[in-house]
């Protein structure tokens, strides 16, 4: 029973971190976007607008939960649950630090240290696509259906490049276990050995989490709001939550695989601080990207994914394979 208690505490901790990250991620995004557009962003609720996420959450909690006529009620309710639950579960294998001694036990700072870590993250985040497709289908709304179908095609296409871009890291580290991959970066973070892999990963990840410039699934000027047009109240909030949690998961994955995870220069500060700092900077980067880049057209998006990103990722795999062989002697 011991492991169950530890796992439950860790899981609760992870969910609290991700939800806080979601709440303040929205505030960070609105604040930063505001500043980048030479305005203030939310600053009325609490000091510096710090209570804005709380106000938003409470407001959405008290809203009417509507479903359009002709909607498939069961699927309509399940879809946001699938999206959010998958996003939250994906964090299970990502280590936020090494091991610590707590109350006379050695605790790994990861919920489950399984040997197929990367496959688990990829698999669970892919399951999240079901939430989006089912939301689009069950809404009985043409915009929603189009948004859902578009979104699935986009995420499937970029998942190929995403999966391929990680293989360079696996070749160097020789394991799928995320804590071991971080330990392999104790001296040199993989971004220096895998610059091309990192760039491909970052672009594909931006498309995977539907962030601008790849936010076509919710292109408001052609699809109203895409797959979640008909959603209101807490179900709408769950989709927002899934989106931000996915952003956090992807940033954490980039930190773990390429930026050296919990390791920092000069041994300053304990591990988790470095991990969260890197994730925070990556999220700021995604917000900056949204403020800077215009949205792609759908044909450009698909062409870029299949004809540029996929060959680049494949070339990176082969180059890394040759490099590893040569350096190994």
């Amino acid at each position: 029973m011991d492991w169950l208690i530890i796992a439950a505490i860790k899981s609760g901790f992870v969910i609290v971190i991700l939800l806080t990250g979601f709440a303040y991620g929205t505030l960070l995004e609105r604040k930063l976007l505001g500043r980048l557009q030479v305005r203030y962003g939310p600053n009325r609720v609490g000091p510096f607008g710090l209570l804005q996420p709380v106000a938003d959450g409470l407001k959405l909690l008290g809203k009417e939960d509507t479903a359009p006529a002709g909607a498939d009620r069961v699927v309509f309710t399940l879809a946001p649950m699938i999206s959010t639950a998958c996003a939250l579960s994906a964090f299970a294998v990502i280590p936020i630090g090494g091991t610590i001694d707590l109350l006379g036990r050695r605790i790994d700072l990861v919920v489950a240290d399984v040997n197929i870590g990367i496959l688990y993250v990829l698999g669970v985040t892919s399951l999240g696509i079901y939430g989006i497709v089912l939301a689009g289908w069950s809404s009985n709304n043409k915009y929603a259906l189009l948004g859902g179908v578009r979104s699935s095609a986009q995420m499937l296409s970029y998942e190929l490049a995403l999966g391929m871009s990680l293989i360079g890291v696996l070749l160097i580290a020789g394991t799928l276990q995320l804590p071991k991959i971080v330990e392999a970066q104790a001296t040199v973070p993989f971004i220096l050995l895998q610059p091309l892999g990192f760039i491909v990963f970052l672009i594909a990840a931006t498309a995977e989490v539907n962030r601008s410039p790849f936010d076509l699934p919710e292109a408001e000027n052609e699809l109203v709001a895409g797959y979640h047009v008909e959603y209101s109240g807490m179900k709408f909030a769950l989709f927002q939550m899934a989106e931000y949690v996915n952003l956090i998961v992807v940033s954490s994955l980039a930190t773990t695989l390429f930026l050296g995870g919990w390791y920092g220069p000069f041994g300053l500060l304990p591990g988790p601080h470095w991990f969260f700092l890197k994730v925070f900077l990556l999220i700021c980067f995604f917000v900056w990207l949204r403020a800077t880049t215009p949205r792609l057209r759908y044909d450009q998006l698909m062409r870029f994914g299949w004809k540029v990103l996929l060959p680049l990722a494949l070339a990176n795999v082969l180059l890394t394979a040759v490099g590893v062989l040569v350096l190994q002697g």
Binding site: W3, G62, M81, L145, L156, I167, G233, W306, L325
Partner: protein
């Protein structure tokens, strides 16, 4: 029993439980005033014609099929990458042959215009 995997189930159960709980709370707290006009699917203020679930471009099905083909091939890369240090030159040559076959298919779908999106 691979006990290392069990904590995954704990987090998954908590995640599902949390989403169910938050929907239940909002279901209990939120008002319910059904009104027929508001329940019409939103299509920018225009009354919807026909059911939304109609045929959509076959192009999307093609993307799904191509994805399955390439994703299954990508899956072979993972075990190869993990054991690459033991396979050495043999592994590299094997993978070059595999990639060459994969590229034939890739060039074929490119030339046939399957990657174009009009």
């Amino acid at each position: 029993m691979p006990t290392a995997y069990l904590p995954l189930l704990v987090l998954q159960a908590l995640a599902v439980g949390f989403t169910a709980l938050i929907l239940a709370v909002s279901f209990l707290l939120g008002p319910r005033r059904p009104e027929s006009h508001r329940m019409v699917p939103y299509e920018s203020g225009i009354r919807p014609v026909q059911d939304a679930r109609r045929r959509f471009p076959v192009k999307f099905t093609l993307v799904a099929m191509l994805f399955i083909v390439f994703d299954v091939e990508a899956v072979f890369f993972y075990p190869w990458a993990v054991t690459y240090r033991q396979l050495k030159l043999f592994g590299l040559i094997e993978m070059l042959i595999f990639v060459a076959i994969l590229l034939v298919g890739y060039v074929y779908i490119w030339k046939r215009g399957a990657l174009e999106w009009e």
